[in-house]
Symmetry: C2
Subunit: 898 residues, 2 copies
C-alpha cells in the first residue's frame, strides 16, 4: 500500500486528479510539479493514513519506511540533510483535506531545527538572527500545536503555552524598550529560545524535542489529530463535510521569504475575486513570511501597478520591485488559470531571488465576481456554457440582487444580536414598534425598521413600507419571514435577545436600550443586527449584463419552468423582469385586509343568515375582480394560479378591545356579540382548523364570489384583447370529495359568467397538495384535478407535526444535537415529506399521465429542494419574485447534475 506520494524536481507521484487521496493542497502541489512550475519539493501522506489513524489510533506499519524513503529522496533532490549538521534541511508540515478548511487544522513550520542543525543553518544562510527567529517560531508553534493541543491538554483561557511564551517575549521587549519583534537581536532570540524551552518543561512536563525526526513525526501526528479538533468538527458540520474524508499531510521543504531584501512572499488571484475583473490581483511583502501577509501585522503592498488604489498608490508593486520574478509569476498564474480553466488563488515565496510556488487552488469569489468570470470565460473560450452555469452557486445570485451592508464596515462593527436570516440583503432605518407608526413615519419620508415580537396580517401595511423587519419570535417560515422574503425585503426573525416593550416604545438587547427613532442596521443574509447606521451597497441589476447573460445560459439547460408567488400586479411585473413564466401562487387573503374591504369581510363573518352573509360577500366582488384583473393582465399570456381563500376566518376579526368597540359601532351590533363570535371562532390549533377549502364548503358563497371575480376579470381582459390564463386552486384538500364540492361551484360560476357575457374562455381547476392524506389519495384526487400544486410548507408541518410558528422553541436544540440536519422548512425533507411528494406525483400521474404538477411552497426557491423537485418529475416550481433568478439557475444545475 502506497501511503506517501513524492513531488519535486519536475516529477510527482500524484496529480490534480488525486484530490481525495492527497487532499486539495497535495494534489495541486503534485500537479504544479508535473507542470514544471517551481514548487519546493516534498511529499504528501495520504488521507487514508488519517482514516487509518482515526480508526486504529496507530499508523499503518509500512508508513515509517515510506516516510524515510521519501525523506531520503528529498535530501537527494535538495542536496541537504534532514537533521544533519551541514546543509540542514528544514520542512513544513501542513494539513490538506479534499476541500479547503481554512484555519481549521494545524501547521508546524521550520521542522528540523535542533541544537545540531542550527550551526549548519547559520553557516548555510549566513544569518544568525534569521535562524534563531525561525527557531523560536518553531518552539512556539510546536509546543502549542504538538505538545499541548494534540496531547489533549486544555488550559484555561489565556493560559495556554503559546500565551505564556508570548508573555516572555513581550516582557523581554518591554525590558529592552523594543517597539517591534524586528528589534530583537540574534542573541535576544537565542536567549528567548532557552527561556521558552525552560518554560515548556515547567508547564508541560516534557522537554521540547531536540531531534529532527521526533519533531517531524510529532508534527505529522498533530496535523492528523487536528482533523478531530473541535474547530474542525464544527466546521465540517456547517459545511456538510463527512468525517470519514480525513486530511492528508504535506511535508515540504521550507523556503523563506524573510531571508533579506531579495526575499518576499505573497498571495494572489488570477482574477479579481471581488469584482471578477480579469486582472492579476494580489498582495505581497518584502522580507516576510507568508503568515505576515495574512495576519495583517504589516500592511501588504499591492501586487502590481495596475491594481493600485487611491490608498495604495504610494506603495511599491512587485512588478516594480522585482520585475523579472513578477514576470515569471505572471506567466505562471496565467498557465495555472489556463490549465485549471478557473480563477486560481495562489501563494508564492521568493527566497533570495528565487521564486517558489507554495499553493494553487480554485479561488473563492463574491457572487458578482462568480457571475462575471463565468460569463467572460465563456466569451474567452476557456469554458463552455454548461461549465459557466455550474460555476455560479444559486445562492450567490442573492448577493447580487439585494442591497448589502458594506462588508468592510460590517467587519469592524460590533454585532448587537443575531437572529434567523429570514429575508436577504441589508437594511438601515429608524426603529418603530408598530405597523401604524411605520406607516406614519414613512409618510414623513423616514426610513424605518419595524420591530415586533411577531407579525400578523394586520401589520402588512407597516411591513410594506419598512426598510427591514425584525422580530423576536418566529422561525424561517413565520408570517414575517414569508412576507418579507416574498418582497425580497431584509428581515431577521427569532431574534430572542430582543426584549420589546411596544407600549413604552423601547427595547433592550443584552443591556443596550434602544428607543423609537434610534438607528439600526440589519444584515438579513447573515441574521446580524448592528446599532447605528452602516453603509449599504445597492445593486443595479438592469446594468448587470453578465447577470442577464448567465441566466440566459441557465435557461438553455433547465427543464423545470419557474413561476412566481405574487399577490399584486407590481410583484407580477417584477417577477417577469426576473424571468418568471407564470404565477404559481396568488394568495387572495391579504386582499381582504385593506380598510375598505375588511369591513365587508367582518360583516360576512358576523352574519347570522345566509342572506346577510351573501350580501356582505358580494360587496367584495368588485375589489376582487379588480385585483385579479391587474394580476392576470400583468402575467398574460402566462398562467396565474389563484388560490381561494385559505386562512381561518378569525384572522380577519379584530383583536383588541378598542378594535372590537370600533367594529361594533360600524356594524351597529353590541361588542358582546362580536366577542361571542370571536370566542366561537377561536381555535386551539388554527393551522389544523377551519381553513382552506373547509371555508368554501361551509360558506360556498365565498368560493362563488371569488370564482366570479376571477372569471369576470378574465372576460374583461379578453374584451380588451389581452390573453389571460386563470387557474383556480382549491387549497387544503384532504379528500377528493372536498375538491368535487368546490369544483362544482367553480364550474357552475364559470358557466354562468360565460352565459351572461356570451364569451367562452379557458381556465383550469386544480388543487393544492399540502396534506399527507392528499398525497396518499392523489390517484383519486387526480381524477378531479386539472393540476396539482404542492404546498410544501403545510405538508412539512403536517408530515412532521411541526408548527412552523412554534418550532423556534426547539429547532435550535434539534440542529445542535444533530437530530435534524437542517430546518425542513428551508430545504425540503427528502426522506419524509419528499417521499409523500413522490408518492403523490406517481399516484396522480397513474390516473392522468400528463397531469401538470408544480410546487408553490417556500421550498420552490431553495436550490437543494429544486434539485429534488426536478428529479421528482415536477413541471414547475414557484417562488417569490426575488428568488426567481436563483430558481432558474438552480433548475439548470438540477438538470446538469442529474
Amino acid at each position: 500500500m502506497k501511503y506517501v506520494y513524492n513531488f519535486g524536481n519536475g516529477k510527482a507521484d500524484g496529480s490534480a486528479a488525486d484530490k481525495n487521496l492527497l487532499g486539495g493542497k497535495g494534489a495541486n502541489l503534485a500537479e504544479m510539479t508535473n507542470l514544471n512550475i517551481p514548487v519546493p519539493p516534498g511529499f504528501t501522506i495520504t488521507t487514508e493514513v488519517c482514516t487509518y489513524y482515526m480508526e486504529h489510533a496507530a499508523y499503518p506499519s509500512e508508513l515509517s519506511d515510506q516516510i524515510n524513503q521519501s525523506l531520503e529522496l528529498l535530501e537527494k533532490i535538495m542536496s541537504q540533510g534532514f537533521g544533519k549538521p551541514s546543509n540542514p534541511l528544514l520542512v513544513s508540515v501542513r494539513s490538506g483535506a479534499r476541500t479547503s478548511m481554512p484555519g481549521m487544522m494545524e501547521t508546524v513550520l521550520n521542522v528540523g531545527l535542533t541544537s545540531e542543525t542550527i550551526p549548519g543553518m547559520i553557516a548555510m544562510t549566513g544569518n544568525e538572527r534569521f535562524v534563531y527567529d525561525a527557531y523560536r517560531r518553531l518552539i512556539t508553534m510546536y509546543s502549542d500545536v504538538v505538545m499541548e493541543k494534540s496531547a489533549g491538554i486544555e488550559p484555561a483561557e489565556g493560559k495556554g503555552i503559546r500565551e505564556q511564551l508570548d508573555h516572555i517575549m513581550d516582557k523581554m521587549k518591554e525590558e529592552n524598550g523594543y517597539a517591534s519583534d524586528t528589534d530583537l537581536s540574534a542573541s535576544d532570540l537565542k536567549t528567548l529560545s532557552e527561556l521558552f524551552k525552560e518554560k515548556i518543561i515547567k508547564v508541560l512536563g516534557n522537554p521540547f524535542p531536540d531531534d529532527a525526526m521526533e519533531q517531524l513525526l510529532g508534527g505529522i501526528t498533530a496535523v492528523f489529530g487536528s482533523w478531530n479538533g473541535k474547530r474542525a468538527i464544527s466546521y465540517r458540520r456547517i459545511e456538510s463535510i463527512p468525517d470519514h474524508w480525513g486530511t492528508a499531510v504535506n511535508v515540504q521543504t521550507m523556503v523563506f521569504g524573510n531571508m533579506g531584501d531579495d526575499s518576499a512572499t505573497g498571495v494572489a488571484f488570477t482574477r479579481n475575486p471581488a469584482t471578477g475583473e480579469k486582472e492579476f490581483y494580489g498582495e505581497w511583502l518584502a522580507n516576510a513570511q507568508g503568515e505576515d501577509v495574512v495576519a495583517g501585522i504589516r500592511t501588504p503592498n499591492p501586487l502590481n501597478s495596475s491594481t493600485k488604489t487611491d490608498d495604495s498608490f504610494v506603495q511599491v508593486g512587485l512588478d516594480e520591485y522585482m520585475p523579472e520574478n513578477y514576470q515569471l509569476l505572471h506567466d505562471i498564474q496565467q498557465r495555472l488559470e489556463n490549465h485549471y480553466s478557473d480563477m486560481q488563488d495562489i501563494e508564492f515565496t521568493i527566497q533570495k531571488g528565487k521564486l517558489w510556488m507554495l499553493q494553487t487552488r480554485v479561488g473563492k469569489r463574491t457572487g458578482n465576481a462568480a457571475i462575471r468570470m463565468a460569463v467572460e470565460m465563456v466569451a474567452e473560450g476557456m469554458i463552455d456554457e454548461k461549465t459557466a452555469v455550474l460555476r455560479v452557486k444559486p445562492e450567490q445570485l442573492d448577493e447580487v440582487m439585494h442591497p448589502m451592508v458594506d462588508f468592510k464596515a460590517e467587519k469592524i462593527a460590533k454585532v448587537l444580536a443575531k437572529g434567523l436570516p429570514a429575508g436577504p440583503g441589508g437594511g438601515v432605518g429608524q426603529i418603530v414598534f408598530s405597523a401604524d407608526d411605520a406607516e406614519s413615519w414613512y409618510k414623513q419620508g423616514k426610513k424605518v425598521i419595524l420591530v415586533r415580537n411577531e407579525t400578523s396580517p394586520e401589520d402588512v401595511h407597516g411591513m410594506h413600507v419598512a426598510e427591514a423587519i425584525l422580530t423576536a419570535k418566529g422561525g424561517m417560515t413565520s408570517h414575517a419571514a414569508l412576507v418579507a422574503r416574498g418582497w425580497g425585503k431584509c428581515c431577521i426573525v427569532g431574534c430572542s435577545a430582543l426584549n420589546i416593550s411596544a407600549s413604552e416604545k423601547k427595547m433592550t438587547i443584552d443591556g443596550v436600550v434602544l428607543k423609537e427613532g434610534d438607528w439600526l442596521t440589519m444584515n438579513g443574509t447573515s441574521g446580524k443586527v448592528y446599532e447605528g447606521k452602516l453603509p449599504l451597497i445597492k445593486p443595479d441589476l438592469e446594468a448587470n449584463t453578465e447577470f442577464t447573460a448567465l441566466l440566459k445560459m441557465a435557461d438553455k439547460f433547465k427543464s423545470l419552468k419557474i413561476r412566481t408567488n405574487a399577490d399584486s400586479p407590481e410583484d407580477a411585473s417584477l417577477a417577469r423582469v426576473f424571468g418568471a413564466e407564470g404565477i404559481g401562487l396568488c394568495r387572495t387573503e391579504h386582499m381582504f385586509f385593506e380598510p375598505d374591504r375588511i369591513i365587508s369581510m367582518r360583516k360576512m363573518i358576523l352574519s347570522n343568515t345566509l342572506q346577510e352573509r351573501r350580501a356582505a360577500v358580494m360587496k367584495l366582488l368588485p375589489f376582487q375582480r379588480e385585483d385579479f384583473y391587474g394580476i392576470l393582465k400583468a402575467m398574460s399570456p402566462h398562467a396565474v394560479t389563484i388560490r381561494l381563500l385559505d386562512p381561518p376566518l378569525h384572522e380577519f376579526l379584530p383583536q383588541t378591545e378598542e378594535q372590537i368597540e370600533e367594529l361594533a359601532g360600524e356594524l351597529d351590533v353590541s361588542p358582546e356579540n362580536i366577542k361571542k363570535r370571536i370566542g366561537y371562532l377561536h381555535e386551539l390549533n388554527p393551522m389544523l382548523g377551519h381553513r382552506g377549502c373547509r371555508l368554501g364548503v361551509a360558506y360556498p358563497e365565498i368560493t362563488e364570489m371569488q370564482a366570479r371575480a376571477i372569471f369576470e376579470a378574465t372576460i374583461q381582459l379578453i374584451d380588451e384583447g389581452v390573453n389571460p390564463m386563470p387557474e383556480v386552486m382549491v387549497p387544503l384538500v384532504g379528500t377528493v370529495t372536498e375538491l368535487i364540492s368546490q369544483k362544482k361551484l367553480i364550474i357552475a360560476t364559470a358557466d354562468a359568467v360565460m352565459e351572461e357575457h356570451g364569451i367562452r374562455f379557458d381556465y383550469l381547476v386544480g388543487t393544492m397538495i399540502e396534506l399527507p392524506r392528499a398525497c396518499i389519495t392523489a390517484d383519486e384526487i387526480a381524477l378531479e384535478a386539472e393540476f396539482f400544486s404542492f404546498g410544501t410548507n403545510d405538508l412539512t408541518q403536517t408530515t412532521y407535526g411541526f408548527s412552523r410558528d412554534d418550532i423556534g422553541n426547539f429547532l435550535p436544540k434539534y440542529l445542535e444535537d444533530k437530530i435534524l440536519t437542517h430546518d425542513p422548512f428551508q430545504s425540503i425533507d427528502q426522506k419524509g415529506v419528499g417521499e409523500l411528494v413522490k408518492m403523490a406525483v406517481q399516484k396522480g400521474r397513474s390516473q392522468k399521465q400528463d397531469l401538470k404538477i408544480g410546487i408553490c411552497g417556500e421550498h420552490g426557491g431553495d436550490p437543494k429542494s429544486i434539485e429534488f423537485f426536478n428529479s421528482a418529475g415536477l413541471d414547475y416550481v414557484s417562488c417569490s419574485p426575488f428568488r426567481v433568478p436563483i430558481a432558474r439557475l438552480a433548475a439548470a444545475h438540477a438538470t446538469l447534475n442529474s
Copy 2:
C-alpha cells in the same frame, strides 16, 4: 328477465336466499309459503325493477305482462277477481328492501275497491260498514301517498291532503257528536267517501281513480318512488345503506283482522326482545287492523298469560281468546325460529277465524337480549359458538355495561338539546359550572353534572367526581370526550345549543334557563339532554353470566390481543376484570397535575438553569415511582406501556391572573416573571408544538427522571416477588434520531439503576407512531424500536390536517354534505390514515420481522377500526377499560369475518 315472483298455496318462486332480489319481506313470505305456513298469496316485484325505474324513469317493457300473469294466478288461487264485481280481490302494496327500513317507505292497502267492486265486496263480507270503512281508508292513503307525495307536490305544513280529509271526518264526527271513529255508520262512511273524492278533485286537480288496475299501478309506482323520498334517503345515510340497492314491492291479498270478533291481529317475538328470555312474547287486538297495534290508539293485549305483567294481568291473552289459533300460531313461531335459527319478529292476522302470517323477520333486540339469546341458543344446540359470537354486535355490549336512562321514561321525555355522544350510558345530576364546585358539591354528597364550554386538564378533579360531563364545544376526541370515555363516564360534547355563563352560574338552552343546582338527565349513548331527573337502570356485570360466557367464546376466535389504556392502578384492575391483557397506554401527564406535584412541575418550567430544573424534576421522582409501582403491580405479569411526558409545558402553567399571583407567591418570583415565561411558552398550534419527545430532547432530565421512576418501581416489585414488565414508549417521534436520543437516556438510566441495585430486569423501549413521517420512515425507526404503538388520534390529526379540538365548526357540515362518510376520529379513515398504518407495519416488519405492533389511540375501541387493525396485521389494540369487552368481541368478529 323475470321481474315478478309469485307466492301462495304452498308454492313460491323464490326463497329466503333471494333477499337481495326480493327484499327481506318478499323473501321471507316466499320462504314461509314454501314451509306451508299460511301466507296470503301474492307476488313480489324485484328490487331490479326499482333500480331500473330509478335509472330510466320507466319500467322494463316486460313488467306489465308479468304483473298481469301473476294477478291471474292470484285470482285463480283465491277464486276471486281483481276489479271484478263478484268476489272481488283486494290487495296490499308494500315496500320491502334488503334490510328493514321501518316506516321509511310507503304502503297502500285495500287496493281494488271501486264503485264496481264495492257491492260484490259487501255481498262477500255481508258487512257494508266494514267495506266503506276500508274504502275511506284506501282513498285517504292513496290520495296522500300516490296522488300527492309521489307527484312531488309539497303542501305547506298541516295543509296536506291527508290533513284536509281528516278535517272533513273530524267535522262530521263533531257535527254528529261521535266520540270515536267506530261511531261512524256505514252510511256516514259512504257519505265521507264522496266528500273525500270531491275534495281530492278540488285540491289535487285529478279524480281518485275508480279503476282497480290503475290503483294497483299507481300504488306500485308510489312505493318504488318512496325509495328516493327524503325520509328514506336520510335513513340510508345514517344506516350506511347504499342507494343502488333499491326496494322490492310486495302485492299481496288483503286479509282483515277487523272483520268482527272472530278476527284479530298482532305482532310477536319468538323470544323476549328486551330481556332475551325464551318466551313467546307479543301483543294483539281483536277486531283490528295491524296498524292499530303499532299506532297505539288502542292499548294492545298481551299475547299470552305467561307474559302478562302487573299492568296487563286483567287483559285477555290470545291463548284465552282463541286457544286453537293461538296453538297454531305458537307452533308456527317455533317452526320459524328453528328454521331460521334465530329469534323472529312476526306479524299475523286472523280473519274470520283463519290465521294468516303476514311477515317474519329476524327480530331486533336489546344488547342484554342479544347476549342472552346467543348464549342460550348455543346451550340449546340451535347455533354454534361462532354464530353466537357473530350474533352480538360489539356496540351492544356498551348498553349492558353502563347505567342507561330508562327507555320508557326517555320515550316520553322532551329532548332539551342534542350533542355528540362522547361517553356512553346515562347520567342524572345537578348542574355545576366549575370543577371546583363539582368537587365541593360532591363532598356534600350531591350528584353533579359538570357543564363547561370545554374542559382542560385542570378540570380533571371535577370531571372525576361528576356523574356526567356536558360541554358546548369539542368533538368526539376532545379532552372531555377522551377523559370521560376512559372512565366509562357519561359525556356529551359539542352541544352547541348551550349558552353558558359560568360567571353567572347559569346557561340558556333554546330559551330555557338552567341554573346551578338544577337537575339534568343525559343519555351519553345517544347524545340527548333532558331537563329534570329521569330514572336510570344500572347493570350488574358480575351477575351477568351470559356476558362473561359470550366473551369467553369470543376469545376463542380472536387473534388480536386486547390491552387497555389506564393511568392508575384502579383503572388497571378494572380493565383486568374486563379481560385486558396488558396496558397499551399509560399516560403520565395527569400524574403531574395533583396539587403536591404541580408545584414542582411549575418550578421546573420556570427554572433558569439546568441545575434548578434538574432539582425540581427530581422532586417528582418519588411520586412517579409510586405511580408506576401501583400500575405495574396491578397489571403484572402483563406488560405496561408507559408513555413519557407528552403535552406541551404550557399546559402545566396557571392561566388566570389569580393563579399566577398564587404561584408567584409560592415560588417567590414576580408575577411578571411568570407571565413572561407563559408568553414565551405560548404556542399558536400547541398540537404541533414543543411536546412529545421534543420535550425529552430539550429537557433530558425529564426523560431520565421518568425512566428512573419506572425502573426503580420495577426493582421494588421484583424485590417483592412480583413480575413487572415495563415498556417505555417515546411519543411523537418523527425521525429516528429523536428515538435514538431518548433511547440512549433510557438505557443509560436502566443500566445505572441495575448497577445501583445489583438486579437485572427486562424492559422494552419503543415508540409511538403518530406522525406521517414516522410511518414513512418506519423502516429506519424499526431498527431502533422494540415495539411500535400507533397513536391514531394524532396520526388522524396530522394526516387530515384536522385539529380534533376544532373540527366541531365544520364536521357536521362535512357529514351532512357527504364530504366525509364518518368522523375519522371515531372510526379510522382506512383510505388515508389506514394506508399510513399499513405502510408503517410493512416498512417496520421489513426490518424487524417480529416487531411487536399495537395501537393505543381511541380507535382501539372501535369495532370497525379493530377489524381494520386485525387485517393490517397488528398484534394488539388498546382501549379504555370499558371498551375492553367490546374490543374482545370486535376482535373475534374481525377474525371470523376475514
